[in-house]
Symmetry: C2
């Protein structure tokens, strides 16, 4: 076969996982080419908060925070595999490979970050939250967590400030470009090429949607591409319940599942995802946009289901919050919480304006449903649902919605006054108070209110208008796909590594399973296993074509 281009290591994708693999391989002496399906580099990382969850990092050490291997791995194992977790078992109750991926993560995450810092690819910074403390994890209150803080790192920009995904990509891309790693956009990988021995030797690529090119990798191919959020058939056939989109790069259609499947890669964690609730109507109208509701901002705000009942602590993290949508009703054969309704008042909409889903006051926002009172609000939610019926299987409010909504709000208001959420413990957790509840977006607001014993809740105004937004489950991206081992090697269906094939990021079966350990739980493993893939790819023997 003639090859259009050759190098030691081919890297697919251009998000955190892909850059980490490419930079590591390059720094270790390999020639590297990156292949990106989209028209710009950056993948889903570009759209993200850009944090990377890094246990036992140097900032923690500087601050005297002890983040031992035992504590960190117990937290990870417990959160990822609650039904298996067993602190008395050497593997903590997990399978060998699932355990190895977590065990290795603790050791290598900080090393991966250090490597990228040392070679000058990124500058990092830790997060101090608005209350002045190092940031907490998403399940900081679990006994296994030990309340350990400061695991989430970010990129530091030129001004020394904490920055998001755009800056992370900017720094990584800048290093790659300065070090002569070609980043070929609009290069869609179509097939994985193998030699007669079944070793991976390159990729078939469609350039600009028209030219088929063959790329030769002398040593290895690393997939650091995306999940399958934008493949509606895969979402239907693999996920645990109905989703309505997600904020991943629109090019994330599960290509590695298809191509890996073609050559016998074993799939894992296929019902897994990084999840969030999203604004249903906007996701239907603009599937490629970012409509995730990462936080439920403010205090006089709650969520109810079709029966008008609360189903969770609304200050929980986005990923676990979205999991509450997958409740099956065996009486009527429907997903009870498939759509939920975020309810808030004028004061909250004003104070936190501009923070989604609240529009800047005075601007139009079609996703907001309004009512002068609860009765009108319920009626208007109902009509809106009727319009959306072709997209939702005709999902509708139950006859008791209004009656229950009134009771629910009375009850919520009483909790807000007492400071104690007797149903879901809203505000009991550091995460609730320090991460998803934060001061108003408008300046000069007198907040928290002096009469609030628990500033995560405040009674809704006695007078309307009231507002509602329809939320459905969505993803940041899925995180199931071909299974890797602790060397980031992709395994075949008989648990043997496929020679020359590596994976990291959202395209593979995540070491996290279905858990979101803390801020940066997506990019942390992406950087880490990308780094491990890069190291091992360089050490591979040259394969015969």
């Amino acid at each position: 076969m003639d090859y259009d281009q050759e190098c030691d290591v081919l890297v697919v994708g251009s998000g955190a996982a892909a850059f980490s693999a490419a930079i590591t391989a390059k720094e270790k002496g390999a020639s590297v080419i990156m292949l990106e399906k989209g028209s710009i580099a950056g993948g889903t990382t570009m759209r993200s908060g850009g944090g990377f969850w890094t246990p036992n990092n140097r900032f923690q050490k500087q601050m005297g925070i002890i983040d031992s291997k035992k504590d960190a791995t117990q937290y990870m194992a417990r959160l990822s595999y609650p039904q298996l977790y067993n602190p008395d078992d050497p593997l903590l109750g997990l399978t060998q490979n699932d355990f190895d991926l977590i065990d290795t993560y603790y050791d290598e995450a900080q090393q991966a970050v250090k490597f990228l810092e040392d070679c000058g690819a990124i500058k990092t910074i830790n997060e101090i939250n608005w209350t002045g403390k190092p940031q907490v994890d998403y399940m900081d209150h679990l006994p296994e967590n030990k309340g350990i803080r400061g695991r989430c790192l970010y990129t530091q920009n030129k001004e020394g400030k904490l920055s998001y995904g755009g800056e992370l990509i900017k720094q990584l891309r800048s290093w790659a470009t300065s070090n002569n790693i070609p980043i070929l956009t609009k290069h869609e990988v179509k097939h994985i090429l193998r030699n007669a021995q079944g070793e991976i030797i390159g990729l078939e690529v469609l350039k600009d949607g028209q030219d088929t090119l063959n790329f030769r990798a002398h040593k290895a191919v690393v997939f650091g591409s995306g999940g399958y959020t934008h493949n509606t058939k895969y979402m239907l056939h693999f996920q645990r319940g109905p989703h309505f989109g997600g904020c991943s790069a629109p090019t994330n259609t599960g290509d590695f599942i298809k191509m890996g499947g073609e050559i016998g890669a074993k799939l894992g964690n296929m019902a897994g995802a990084w999840r969030a609730q999203l604004i249903l109507e906007n996701a239907i109208k603009h599937p490629e946009g970012v409509h995730n509701i990462f936080y439920v901002p403010g205090d006089s705000v709650l969520e109810v289901n079709k029966h008008g009942k609360r189903i969770m602590d609304e200050k929980r993290n986005y990923s676990d919050r979205a999991m509450t949508h997958f409740v099956w009703d065996p009486q009527y054969a429907e997903w009870t919480n498939m759509l939920v309704f975020m309810i808030f008042d004028q004061r909250t909409a004003t104070l936190w304006q501009g923070f989604a889903p609240y529009p800047v006051q005075g601007t139009e926002a079609e996703h907001i449903i309004t009512g002068d009172n609860y009765e009108e609000l319920a009626k208007n939610i109902s009509s809106r649902l009727k319009k959306l019926a072709p997209h939702t299987g005709g999902f509708s409010l139950s006859p008791k919605f209004l009656e229950n909504l009134r009771e629910t709000i009375d009850r919520f208001n009483r909790f807000a006054v007492s400071g104690k959420d007797e149903d879901f413990g809203r505000g009991n957790f550091n995460y609730d108070r320090e991460w998803t509840t934060f001061p108003p977006t408008i300046s000069g607001a007198d907040w928290p209110p002096k009469d609030s014993p628990n500033y995560t809740m405040y009674p809704l105004s006695e007078k309307g208008p009231y507002f509602a937004v329809i939320l459905g489950a969505g993803t940041l991206d899925t995180n199931g796909g071909p299974v890797i081992n602790k060397y980031a090697q992709v395994l075949n269906n008989f648990d043997k590594p496929i020679p020359g094939l590596y994976g990291a990021g959202n395209c593979i079966a995540s070491p996290t399973a279905n858990a979101y350990w803390g801020g940066g739980s997506t990019i942390g493993p992406a950087l880490t296993y990308g780094h491990i893939a890069g190291l091992n790819a360089v050490a591979e023997p040259v394969k015969q074509a």
Copy 2:
């Protein structure tokens, strides 16, 4: 390559799907060999109720029951895809392939049964339930169902009586044997063999766990094997929540996922299963046994979760009931309903004795937890859970369990007196009254009680002892795997049929998705797509080896 045996059509497995394919192919003139991994033929069908859900069957026609294509397909589509269902869409809101599988099912199910009857393989009979009516579906009350009865058929034995899975297998096997179809047990298929063009030409088989044999199929291979219930890693990596086993043949470890994956078959419906609650402790002790609780027998019986609260109408069907176990708690990162507790009194245990989970009175049954009163019962459940901790991630009762249990039982007792279950509508549905509630197992019992306005519920005795059984989610079997089209051809990852490869039964992505349409929803599609596979396999051209 030398082949140890040759035929036109190789069939893998020996349950309903496999026999249907084998008998069809043989009757149409092909030479056929069946390969069974286990030491006896019959697969999961052998362990089953043996019904086959057959819309518009001849018994319905005889009884004047009109079961139109429109009504039946709308019911199937609505139940299988509630989030997509759209009656105004030509595909009812489904994808083309998912729709085709349902559409074809309506037409072919009755034909498949007729074919097997006409060739003398089986004799069939319809079910008249204990109330004297043709049997109802599992969601008979959905508007799309139109209350249509009589879709579930069974095998008729020599005495003209309705019979179960054992008899179905006996009849099928008898025909196969009489017609010279070898049924080779202890023949475990290990790999699918292909020629240079990628066409399927045979199977590599391990005989008696030691000899590797190559079987040549001139025309086609049909997989009619099982799901992956007994592969704990697959259960963990594909299912929507924690399961603790299932009643499928112990050999059902997802072999077709592995082998199909090896040759590039596309996977689908991977989070799907036929489900049931099962007796946790027995499933842990004897994973290969049948511990499913298909019905919650009796009237003074209910189920509560770790908070002591009811979560469903306990008279719903086993598959949907098990779905209630997958509720995620975003506050404490655990599966709230992972284990639930079936609570009942002495009267119920006596009246329905011998029907699982109630032991025959006087016999020992370790899975029964006893308490003289509710306090003692709660205490004893708690201690039992402590012992089980290594198997359950330390699942435990919440501190409010006893208080809530008392309230829950008071409330249930009030519902039983009024006849109206205000929370879940128990007894509102024909299915509840005619299928899962039935007269006592002991003769001469005066039942239903005259003071019961709704015989699905009766107040628990004011005096103990009381009893509990710990239930977890399990399967009859999973039903995800390689995707087929309406011709039962297995598709590759690019949606093209793999030449010469067919599939049916629990080993493939089920046409039902995650729904259980009615009695026989497992074996109906198995027989039907097995039959379709058999017909098309015979018509295949001979492949070059």
